[in-house]
């Protein structure tokens, strides 16, 4: 029997449509694969019946002109997306047992395109983390291991760590992710897969558990650039239920794929050459520049002078928005309520102390402080002013170039526990990812090679707003030249 879990979404689509195999066979193979990989802790809940039901509907509809673009494709769904009557916890104890009576717009779009759901994917609590270690359900273990024989458990990146591990391990052909400050791109880089965060507003935020609303964007994580294009087309689109949703048609990104980059200028920001980045990563960056040159693009040096202020800006704005968004978890309307002997205020405080993990509490405290009377201007307004400067940096740079190429992360996957004692060390892992988030720009990570320990490294492409096509095309040019075929050796 053919191993259908080895196929890309484009291949599954083709094979299903031509009758080479049925959607049910695809779903069954994936359900078996999911159940045999629980050691990774990638799924918080498995929904094999959902995948089978969608597959049966696809098989029944085959031959019909109106077959959705994802008919016959089962997907993993990050547990930040509300899924009707299926546990939606955002990796938090405080949402234990929450079964929404509604479906997020993005997952509804995927279902409308014919996709089924294999299960909900583990993640850092409320998407706050870069290693998946803040999940109330325990960390996801990366399928990758260093080639030193030490068998150390590695982080799959975060916050979409369940998504990255599942796609890399072949227990989902692709998955949804969300990216607030790198949460699609850094885990994609750590696990040797592709992931794109579109322009802010392309994907509806409706039904996605909010973290920092001015930054949160959904996007796909998949094995190839083409698969990302296919999925993003299905996920994106105007939604009147999200006030920041962009009322624009969804381009045909897949049809527009082309790795011919003649006439494109690729900006190389000098501020992204920072101390402490391993030589392997800078070497891959140089290779990436050569690959894009080979595809016809012209590299140009650019400057993004406020780069070093992006992370501190982010760590004011994101916690501020989070402290406001997470005020809704009060033990009244949904989720868990802690027992307390006192009145309503004591119940709120006890519920929130018991329900939120340490990193979430820390960020709520910072956010509450920077928004509190007397400190608001000094911290929050100041950060919003610097955010304007960061956005202007990109606007000026894009007068000289069409795309920007950087490494995705300043390290390969680190070991579980290596950074969890030092919040700032963890935050620094998103140094290359956060500026594009603050500016709302589309950005993608594509695997470029392996480091000396045999771990994947990613290249990061940032585009002008709404230029997902340019980002995907540069990603394709890198993918074709990098020839990245490495897979984690199965140990789970």
């Amino acid at each position: 029997m053919t191993d259908l879990t080895a196929k890309t979404i484009a291949e599954l689509r083709e094979g299903f449509r031509s009758g080479e195999f049925t959607a049910r066979e695809v779903a069954e193979q994936y359900n078996t694969a999911v159940a045999s990989a629980r050691a990774l802790n990638a799924y918080t809940i498995e929904t094999p019946d959902d995948a089978l039901a969608a597959a049966d509907a696809a098989d029944k509809a085959r031959g019909n002109d109106e077959l959705g673009s994802l008919a016959g494709i089962p997907l993993g769904i990050k547990d930040l997306f509300a899924t009707r009557d299926v546990d939606t916890t955002a990796g938090s104890r405080i949402l234990a047992g929450f079964k929404p009576r509604y479906e997020s717009t993005v997952t509804a779009n995927l279902r409308k395109a014919g996709a089924g759901m294999l299960g909900k994917l583990n993640m850092d609590e409320f998407a706050m983390g870069s290693s998946n270690e803040t999940s109330a359900y325990g960390p996801v273990i990366s399928p990758w291991r260093r080639k030193d024989g030490g068998n150390a458990a590695l982080a799959p990146g975060g916050s979409s760590g369940g998504s990255s591990a599942a796609v890399a391990a072949g227990i989902a052909p692709a998955a949804t992710g969300t990216d607030t400050g790198g949460s699609i791109r850094q885990p994609a880089a750590f696990t040797g897969i592709c992931g794109i965060k579109p322009t802010y507003g392309r994907c509806s935020r409706w039904g996605i558990v909010s973290f920092a609303s001015s930054l949160d964007q959904a996007g796909p994580m998949a094995r190839t650039v083409r698969d990302c294009a296919i999925l993003l087309e299905a996920m994106a689109g105007f939604d009147p239920k999200d006030s920041t949703s962009l009322d624009l048609p969804v381009p045909n990104w897949e049809a527009g794929l082309s790795s011919d980059l003649r006439g494109k200028r690729v900006g190389i920001p000098k501020e992204y050459r920072i101390d402490g980045v391993p030589a392997d990563i800078n070497a891959l960056w140089d290779k990436g520049i050569e690959w894009l040159r080979d595809a016809g693009a012209e590299p140009v040096e650019i400057s993004l002078p406020h780069t070093k202020y992006a992370l501190p800006t982010y760590y004011i704005i994101a916690p501020a928005e989070a402290s406001s968004n997470l005020a809704r978890y009060d033990g009244v309307r949904y989720g868990a309520r802690a027992e307390s002997s006192g009145g309503l205020d004591e119940m709120y405080a006890a519920t929130r102390a018991a329900g939120f993990g340490a990193e979430v509490r820390r960020r709520i405290m910072i956010g509450t402080y920077v928004l509190s009377a007397g400190f608001y201007d000094a911290y929050f307004t100041k950060a919003q002013r610097v955010r304007t400067l960061i956005k202007q940096d990109f606007e000026k740079a894009f007068e000289q170039c069409d795309l920007i190429l950087t490494p995705t992360a300043p390290s390969a996957a680190f070991g579980l526990g290596d950074k969890s004692a030092d919040p700032i060390a963890m935050y620094l892992n998103d140094v290359f990812a956060v500026p594009a988030s603050l500016a709302g720009l589309p950005a993608m990570s594509v695997p470029g090679g392996l480091d000396e320990m045999g771990l994947p490294l990613g290249l990061h492409i940032i585009g002008r707003e709404l230029d997902e096509q340019g980002v995907l095309n540069a990603g394709l040019a890198i993918e074709e030249r990098a020839g990245f075929t490495a897979k984690p050796k199965r140990w789970w």
């Binding site: 006030s243 309503l344 910072i366 919003q384 002013r385």
Partner: protein
Amino acid sequence: MSVTNEQVRHIAKLARIAMSDEELERLVPELNNILGWVEQLGEVNTDGVEPLTAVIANKLRLRDDKVTDGNCRDDILANAPVAEHGFFAVPKVIE
């Protein structure tokens, strides 16, 4: 600027997070470490720079003043930790 134990206790109260003395002691240096790190923004000259309000230029839309949903009380209460007689139930607040 650094925060004191007393300030952190006040922030915890604003954030409605119960906190033991031990946790408070642990959190004060952690918060000061992070606040000290973000204070490097003070180096940036932002005179005359407007705070960013919309990351992608977009007009807030108005919708027709029409009822578009409702009649879903049971759905809304379905996930309540305690619901009684069609209402959310909370600890007694009036003696």
